[in-house]
Symmetry: C2
Subunit: 562 residues, 2 copies
């Protein structure tokens, strides 16, 4: 961690104290019970731009009120599509399709109809990004900076207030379809976190698309399948996970049920393919159902492809790249096209905000299978490079968001929480007793480029702060135990690959970054991080298979849960 | 070099022999006196696609004849703008402007009006690319694979037939403005190579923008300026070049004159700035003059910026990147906008083909000054990576080329020679006694994507073949003396950064690449490379300054010239 010891760098503390006292009014104000509490950095900016922002807020309120008036008093529907593991440049920019040998014509068309965010930051991997979006908070604040691949007995805590809960309070119908990946206990399931209905796998794609006999056969996976080798000296048959729960469905207030899978059955690529197709079908069905209702809807579709590791599940390869991820992205692009066609066919275009984005960068360890690689930014999922946390993101809302525009403003996935809440007239349901990292970016959405409220992002890896982006610069913190002077600072425009840390920037920027870090940690001390939810794995599922029960028993025999 | 020894790899020779006999009819046909001779690889493709191409050629002939009929019997004007040292992605793609913190709005607009070539290959540095465009031949064929930075006593030979000569024969007015960089002797000057008029510096920007007192002052240059250090033990005052000739102008059949510089004067950044501005102004003036003439024109403008190394020459920095190259690109973009506005104002839009492209990738050794860096492709100028030889290229011709389209077909800078000749109804003036590497890509220009005639490119570094691109694969030849098995093959779509050579491809592609190499070398043996032009440096200039004469004398005292 960055060095911030008192006494050793008194001049820096003085600078920090000054900066914070500058923002002091706002800082104190934030403690009022009815105001959202943001991270310290926000107040530094608010002190400089607050007057303009307050005026803009009024303008946005008026715009949204006018919209509701025209829309029978209803807030707009929100359709949120979150694509897995796709680095910036892989969708929405036709020229880059040629570089990659990929095809995303429907998403490119959608980009032309949308505001494209050029600097959308996420968390560096699936669970943290999804938690950030659902809670408006960095997952370090609720113990979900990282999650185990198989059973964990952990999940998004009931005490967190999700965007689905916030929008439900404001009268939205809420549905979640597809990947969830926020833990394997009841309190974390989407239908217990504000969604009226949810259809989802508890786990992620490694367990669904990799831990299959086909993946072993095609060299994508090794060692997992029972037939893939016979080690006579292996004594522990629980080391290879078995008895996993796959797809479940649930309704608010009810137990979940595992679906489409029976006791003793073996999970295969065919199951994974069928699951993907089902979520696509369910999304269309839900759109049709929700469109008829009097209430506005919040529908989120989080597909699992383009993560697909098995070549045998493709009839033919239509991209010249030919990687399973690139090919699967082409299929997803077609699916997304179907969804948008359905949105338009159902007459939802003008009263539905559609946001499409990726959750984090590419799963780079499988480049040779998936067909992706570094495009512009170095790195990918799990590290904290721009390749991990910069993604394509698009927002379409005909009549409210100007089409075919780009915005260079910074935005963070947590901002969707606050922005969706504001657009859904639900800001008053956001909790005010904790830090909300998300900022209200309604003005950026509706008035476009130059109206962003963020020029910073904190990047955690697991529960450790590892990088800080401010304006066009990025600080990579030293590894734990390394001295502060080994921090690296990059100019992201001159060096998007983060290859050459620049001493010439560090000479002035180190002190400013230290101030930022200190303010961030001070706020975290004032509003301590909350614990993760803990329980018996697979709690809240009424039809657990015998093999799943067995696995849970084994887990519980050594776990600290219960 | 790649191993092609007889006897050691007989099976490969057999494969080659087969492949060549397949294409044998075309190969023999190419020896006919009135047909253009291409490289062997072309005939392999012609054998597979010749019928369609012949039909397309007829269609193109009819299209062009129809155009001429509507255009008072005249062929179209051709305006060719060649930008220096700019890697793929730096212009014409708005999203990537945000990545770089750059601004190219006029070029982006031009791209929207154009066909954008997604796979334009060039030679890896300035002289070779310019020679390739002017002669339609890889510069290895005329001894210009590399050129010295200061005086060389060498140039493009008089025996080469440039596109300016070809178009002149067909009745074009021809003008060259800006960088030339094809040698420092009379026979190589543009006004002796087919241009009616030319205004240009003999040398390149290192001598013009770097060898200045300002560059020494700003750390961009070291050791060159007389005041930059005092080495009392240095005995040779000719080691630092002095007495260079800067800007010259000439008319066909006349001696050249050095302009805007007097004996004893010191070359400074101010001279460089003024020279850049003059070439821009002259381009506009020439456009206005040529527009009035009865004959069609071929005007090429080869600006020297965005190569600019001195911060003091900018009044302010308007890009967020702030590098001198990125800032200078913004200025060039404005200048290009002026030129296109003038083209439109003069009523030339519909009868002028405008092609804009870069000559090769970035000058990566000066990234920290210029503000560029790896965007998508690794490497830059001088190496043979995609970053060196892949550039943005755009062709606009309202009414004849469909606007706002992309083409994934491969095209090579030599193809402009043959394509411009065909569009200018001048193909019959292309020499048929030598290999022309350029292919006629008129169908690609006029009918767009899918109509290209090339799926290969040979990439030379200096006079050594170093890489071969075929389809989406790229072979990097082993360094001289290294065994053939150390050749690396990349999948350019899965690995645009050429970071991971793939054995899985080499297993089948090595043999095919060996065949290609052998065919290429066989054709070179049949049509041997021509010598470079040689003479006394600065010959053909009527007003050489005394210091220039002195430098020439010193050079001649040890040179083999004369």
């Amino acid at each position: 961690m960055f060095q911030l010891k008192r006494g050793r760098k008194p001049q820096l503390l003085t600078r920090s104290a000054l900066a914070i006292s500058l923002a002091c009014g706002a800082f104190t104000g934030s403690a009022m019970a009815d105001e959202i509490v943001h991270d310290a950095e926000y107040y530094i900016l608010e002190a400089q731009h607050g007057k303009k922002w307050a005026a803009d807020d009024k303008k946005m309120d008026a715009k949204l009120a006018e919209f509701r008036k025209k829309n029978n008093g209803k807030s707009p529907n929100i359709l949120y599509v979150l694509v897995d593991d796709l680095s910036f440049g892989e969708m929405g920019i036709p020229e880059l399709n040629y570089i990659r040998g990929s095809k995303t014509p429907n998403i490119n068309k959608f980009a032309d109809e949308s505001l494209s965010f050029m600097r959308m930051y996420t968390e560096p991997s699936c669970t943290p990004s999804r938690v950030a979006m659902m809670t408006g908070r960095h997952p370090v604040r609720n113990g979900l900076g990282e999650v185990k691949a198989t059973v964990a007995g952990e999940a998004l805590a009931a005490s967190e207030v999700t965007i689905a809960e916030v929008l439900s309070e404001a009268g939205y119908n809420t549905v979640h379809i597809g990947k969830w990946h926020m833990g394997d206990i009841a309190e974390g399931y989407p239908h217990n976190q504000g969604f009226d209905y949810a259809s989802f796998p508890i786990h992620q794609q490694v367990l669904l698309g990799f831990m299959t006999p086909e993946a072993d056969q095609s060299h994508a996976m090794q060692g997992w399948h029972a037939d893939s080798g016979n080690d006579q000296f292996a004594l522990d048959d629980q080391f290879k996970p078995g008895g996993l729960v796959y797809g479940i469905e649930g309704r608010k207030g009810e137990m979940a049920r595992e679906v489409d899978f029976t006791a003793g059955e073996e999970w295969t690529q065919k199951h994974y393919d069928a699951m993907n197709e089902k979520y696509q079908r369910q999304t269309i069905e839900q759109l049709q159902r929700l469109a008829k209702d009097d209430k506005p809807f919040f529908l989120q579709y989080w597909p699992m492809i383009p993560l697909d590791f098995d070549r045998s599940s493709f009839d033919s390869f239509e991209t010249s790249n030919g990687g399973t991820g690139v090919e699967s992205l082409r299929i997803l692009d077609g699916w997304f096209g179907e969804i948008m066609a359905e949105v338009n066919r159902l007459g939802l275009a003008e009263n539905t905000l559609v946001v499409l984005m990726a959750d984090n960068g590419r799963f780079r360890q499988f480049d040779n299978i998936l067909g992706f690689s570094q495009m512009i930014y170095r790195g990918g999922k799990v590290d904290t490079s721009e390749g991990a946390v910069r993604v394509n993101a698009f927002a379409r809302w005909p009549g409210m968001i100007e089409a075919d525009k780009l915005a260079g403003d910074m935005i963070h996935i947590t901002d969707l929480y606050t922005t969706f809440a504001n657009i859904g007239n639900a800001t008053k349901y956001i909790p005010t007793d904790r830090v909300i990292d998300g900022l209200d970016q309604t003005t950026l959405f509706l008035d476009g480029e130059g109206n962003g409220r963020r020029d910073y992002a904190f990047i955690y890896s697991g529960n450790t702060l590892r990088s800080i982006v401010k304006q066009k610069y990025k600080l990579e913190l030293p590894a734990p135990g390394q001295p502060g002077v080994s921090a690296k600072i990059y100019d992201l425009q001159r060096d998007p690959g983060e290859e050459s840390p620049m001493t010439e920037i560090a000479l002035w920027a180190s002190a400013s970054y230290q101030d930022m870090t200190q303010r961030h940690l001070m706020q975290m001390k004032k509003y301590p991080n909350a614990p993760v939810g803990k329980d018996r794995p697979y709690s809240g599922i009424e039809n657990l298979r015998p093999e799943s029960k067995k696995m849970v028993e084994a887990f519980m025999s050594w776990s600290e849960q219960e």
